[in-house]
Symmetry: C2
Subunit: 668 residues, 2 copies
């Protein structure tokens, strides 16, 4: 049984690697004068936001821990605490390093060239990636070591996922509101009204915008992936724990092995991620795109091949490996489809529709978003169908684990994007010259594509993780109550499904409104500064950037509460008032609608963003033309869709599912 400590050991190894990479990043020059100053401002703004956010989160977690302690015992309560701590520290460490890496990327681009800048930016992201993977392994590994041996305590581990998901929800929603209110506000006044370029140092909102990239796209995305990663592992553990002996025999004959399987796969995954990171470093002298692509696809391929031997070694059915395979391949397919819709011919069509104004840009962008749900959902359906055929509902959970095991490298590439973006912003603000800006722009462009792929990947992973959690919920209730059937034509289930469908729309509406309102305040503040600070537009005076950071911080902290509370409380209220059947229906309805809305909003937003960039490259009149103005409107509308509302769908469904799974024993 000592091999159950392997995940913990590999997790610690992962943390060590992250630390070594951090030392390497820190040793790079952070520049001096204005460059260092801007870097510090962004770093500080992000830290201030994070600590204010975490203070509120601590209060929320305290309430949950007390409630869990009295309803389900100390084991679940302590698991929740560890889950929340792991999620929080992964987000914190990742963002801390990202804000250190961005200024160093800019300096490296100026002093050493593209290859070195790529290395720093990617290393900045890798710290996040490795931390996410390692924290999950260490946290779940330790809990599994203590609680996993006993059938009565194993369900306590589910508290970990609930803790992780709750922190993720607030980070994602809060970070999303922060980043987009700053972005929309700074862009609308700066670019459209004052006619100054993006990231211009005269714009008071520009520091807030850069802080937002870190709290939203780094910390928010990190906690999002972290919770899917942990959720899928814990769903597998829960599914294996409530498996019948016939099903266990079918899959390999050893329940304990099946429970340990997700941890074993994730341990293998972190090794493959490290190999991937090394691959990127080796190819970084070629092109950024090739290096990143070789890194991700390479590590996924190695992972799939090695997992075959691992599964064979553990004496488990090859059906489980098929699930790993379809999960990993499915993730890549969804990523590529996302890339097409946010970068291929649909984007050119949207740009072309700018010839008849912003209304047609919006209509075709929405239509693109709606159309883009088809193939990814079809892929998810295929994954469910195949993995279930070979390994039952447990297989669906394993497919999610298969998709997420190489999270170390996929998350690294995701977090690389905002680091490169920030480096560009710093280069512009500190006036580091055109050549530096060209290098950071090229890094940023690759980052945009990888971000789009990462989003598609995150949605499909979250969908599968949620599905596995929902299955675990149903199994858990079924074990206690054999007559429990969630039939669609049962009116309670049906009512639950309709109610579940409401939440994704309501949460999207709340987060979009929050961005709209905060952006409105931001716009008024930036306008005020342009008017009241003499010499600001001429570059003779400094803007009051801290005030803009403050507006975004307050808005994010205030507006993240309602959607967060809705997500956590709705399963509790429906479960205790209408019973476990209605709750099961609710999860089903919410799952379908969350996946659809997440895909639609993310892809529409991504397509508008790139349509604007396509015009800016000189197509259909280029920058400053009427087509460009129309495309900017599309991009602005897409911002909250793709970076606030869309991503919050992933966590919404996972929070609902994990809360249901945890409270299930109380509903029987």
């Amino acid at each position: 049984m000592s091999n159950t400590l392997f995940p913990v050991i590999l997790g610690i190894l992962g943390l060590l690697s992250a630390y070594i990479i951090y030392i390497r990043v820190r040793s790079s020059s952070e520049g001096e004068g204005r460059v260092k100053e801007i870097g510090d401002e962004i770093h500080l703004g992000a830290m201030v936001f994070m600590s204010a956010e975490y203070k509120r989160l601590a209060l929320f977690c305290l309430v949950c821990i007390v409630a869990l302690y009295f309803s389900l015992g100390w084991q679940t309560a302590i698991s929740f605490l560890i889950g929340a701590l792991c999620s929080g520290s992964a987000g914190f460490i990742g963002m801390y390093s990202a804000t250190k890496a961005n200024v160093r990327t800019a300096v490296a681009a100026k002093e050493k060239g593209a290859s070195d800048a790529l290395t720093i930016a990617f290393f900045g992201g890798s710290i996040m990636g490795l931390t996410v993977a390692a924290m999950g392994l260490v946290g779940i590994g330790v809990l599994f070591f203590y609680f996993g041996k006993n059938v009565e305590t194993i369900h306590a581990i589910e508290g970990f996922a609930m803790g992780a998901s709750s922190v993720a929800l607030f980070s994602r929603v809060g970070g999303g509101i922060f980043t987009k209110s700053a972005d929309v506000g700074a862009d609308l006044v700066g670019k459209v009204e004052a006619g100054i370029p993006e990231d211009d140092p005269r714009n008071p909102g520009v520091i807030a915008d850069n802080v937002g990239d870190n709290v939203g796209d780094v910390a928010g995305m990190g906690s999002d992936i972290f919770e899917s990663y942990c959720g899928s592992m814990i769903a597998c553990i829960a599914l294996a724990a409530s498996m019948t002996s016939a099903a266990i025999t079918n899959l390999g004959g050893n329940q304990y092995m099946l429970q340990f399987m997700p941890l074993a796969l994730a341990s293998l995954g972190i090794i493959c991620s490290l190999l991937g990171i090394i691959t990127v470093k080796i190819y970084s002298s070629k092109s950024a795109e090739i290096a990143l692509r070789y890194g991700t696809i390479g590590s996924a391929v190695i992972f799939v091949v090695l997992s075959y031997f691992l599964i064979k070694f553990m004496n488990v059915s090859y059906g489980v490996w098929i699930a790993v395979l379809v999960g990993a391949v499915g993730g890549i397919i969804v990523g590529l489809v996302t890339e097409y819709y946010t970068g291929g011919s649909p984007v050119e069509k949207i740009a072309k529709d700018g010839e008849t104004g912003s209304a047609t840009v919006l209509i075709s962008g929405l239509a693109t978003g709606m159309q883009s749900v088809a193939i990814p959902v079809f892929t998810i359906v295929s994954i469910i169908f195949i993995s279930n055929y070979f390994a039952g509902l447990y297989g669906v959970g394993i497919a999610a684990v298969g998709m997420l095991s190489t999270v170390g490298i996929t998350m690294a590439i995701d977090a690389y994007g905002p680091v490169a973006d920030n480096a560009g912003g710093i280069a512009e603000m500190a006036e580091m010259g055109k050549e530096t800006r060209m290098i950071t722009d090229s890094l940023d462009e690759v980052g945009n594509t990888t971000a789009a792929i990462g989003k598609g990947f995150a949605i499909s992973a979250a969908a599968l993780a949620a599905l596995a959690l929902i299955s675990a919920y149903i199994e858990k209730i079924s074990v206690a109550d054999e007559s429990f059937v969630l039939a669609i034509n049962d009116p309670l289930v049906l009512c639950g499904m309709f109610l579940g469908g409401i939440f994704p729309f309501l949460v999207s509406s709340m987060t979009m409104t929050a961005v709209g309102d905060a952006a409105f305040d931001m716009i008024k503040e930036i306008r005020r500064q342009f008017k009241e600070i003499p010499g600001l537009l001429e570059g003779k005076a400094k803007p009051d950037t801290a005030r803009c950071v403050d507006i975004a911080t307050r808005a994010a902290l205030k507006k993240m509460i309602a959607p967060g509370a809705l997500a956590v409380l709705s399963p509790v209220i429906i479960g205790f008032s209408l019973g476990p059947k209605a709750l099961g229906g609710m999860l089903g309805g919410a799952l379908i609608c969350c996946v659809m809305m997440a895909l639609m909003m993310s892809n529409a937003g991504g397509a508008w963003d790139n349509a604007k960039k396509f015009v800016e490259k000189g197509n259909f009149g280029g920058k400053g033309s009427d087509v460009h103005k129309a495309a900017v409107v599309g991009d602005t509308v897409g911002d909250p869709l793709k970076d606030t509302s869309g991503p919050s769908m992933n966590i919404l469904i996972n929070v609902m599912a994990i809360v249901s799974l945890v409270i299930a024993p109380l509903l029987i």
Copy 2:
């Protein structure tokens, strides 16, 4: 058994009343010169489109009839034919009279004043309302008389609903594409580029726009409501036919009575609708709003009261009456909520957000649409819950019938809107003077509110009708295969649910793209005419309006095929390839997503429309201000959402459900 002919007799009575009203409308003056000319142009354009559309529909129906004949027998085939004919002729008669009423409304406004104009416009709509109700009663009544007595033939009646829904689908999608491509095209070039007012006779697209109001909002809406109306009745018949004897005893002890119940209620409904129409006529000298409100609410109240005695007289449980009650009340609640979201404070907020440009108008409009799903869906859930509690799933069907029984008056008021709108257009084009325009504007304004309420009503009715049809499908399969359970955690059901969720998004995308593309062609044609026809903008030359009508016609006929085929074929393909479980799941997933998307798109569109009107009344700078420009963009984006994609959701889910119900015996 002779009383089973009552519905047919009342249906014929309804048709006679419609004819008498038509004679009354026709006897009113149609004006002369330019007025008559424009009226004729609109009438002709609508007729040309309808006949071209019906030719294609005939071909489609022929294929379906042959397929049904060889798979399910002549009874189903003939029912399909009758359903298609009833739906088609209801749409045709309604639109024929609406295009006669519009010009006469304009003339009455000029020559006789507001009260007479209201009467003509409302009578124009009433012909549609009564025809829809009567055609349903006659068609289903006759089929029930012949097929209803025998358990083996009663399911053939379902073919009627399939015929009605198929015609409705193409009418709604085709009409929706026509009306919005003309509207968007004419508005963008006319109002925004050329700076001429709406409905200006110099605009080549303006006749097409007015034709569109008739083919989309009159014929399309009519066939939409017709298919929900018939679908809910037929679902009740099917549910009663596959009821267990215990359930029958519970509800009143006579299966035949339960099968006949929806027809009895609808017969009562048409009488109440006639009373409502008389009420409106009586109050027409007061204000349009009061007259219409008294008419609808009055007839609903009378219907609910009388239905209590009818149900008692038929010796059926009072639980069925409760279902009627919650259906009728629920419909009104959803209508009022729709009115709030498309007319209350959310609209003012959207208008205010125009101060920071069109992007914020769009964000807050989308957020409003998303938020607006909550209460209507909650109302639908309550209707399901209560009606099922008192009368089982049969009760859900009866609730839908209860909501739709007074369709004669609700549809009359719906169709009144586009007649009043057209009258205003004609008054503007024929330069009938400011006073006439003021009267038609006030009639139109009331029409906009009633249209919004009507849409909310149509969505909830369609949702309940579809749900009843889906329940009938499940019951039908369950009767043959007792082990048939649609459990959410069954992977086949789950895969079906995900696949079902795709269709609403895909169909919305297709129809939006169709509008966008057709509007693009329209814009180019209008621009060409402004450029190439000398003296057009100065009012010295006539535009080539026929060409614009032709563009919209071609686009609509071409682009309605793909979404229509998708809706009809998807249940067939999934049913035969993945089986009845996956098909059941698909219907569940599609139902949830269709309802959500329909509400979101209709309400967002309605809110943008009225936000623009709110600005035009002089708020936030009024017409011509920057806020107004921003609001116009919102309105333009909302147009295809609210009048093309949104409404097609209602029929999409009903077509899928009825096709599944009809092919169910082949899947067992």
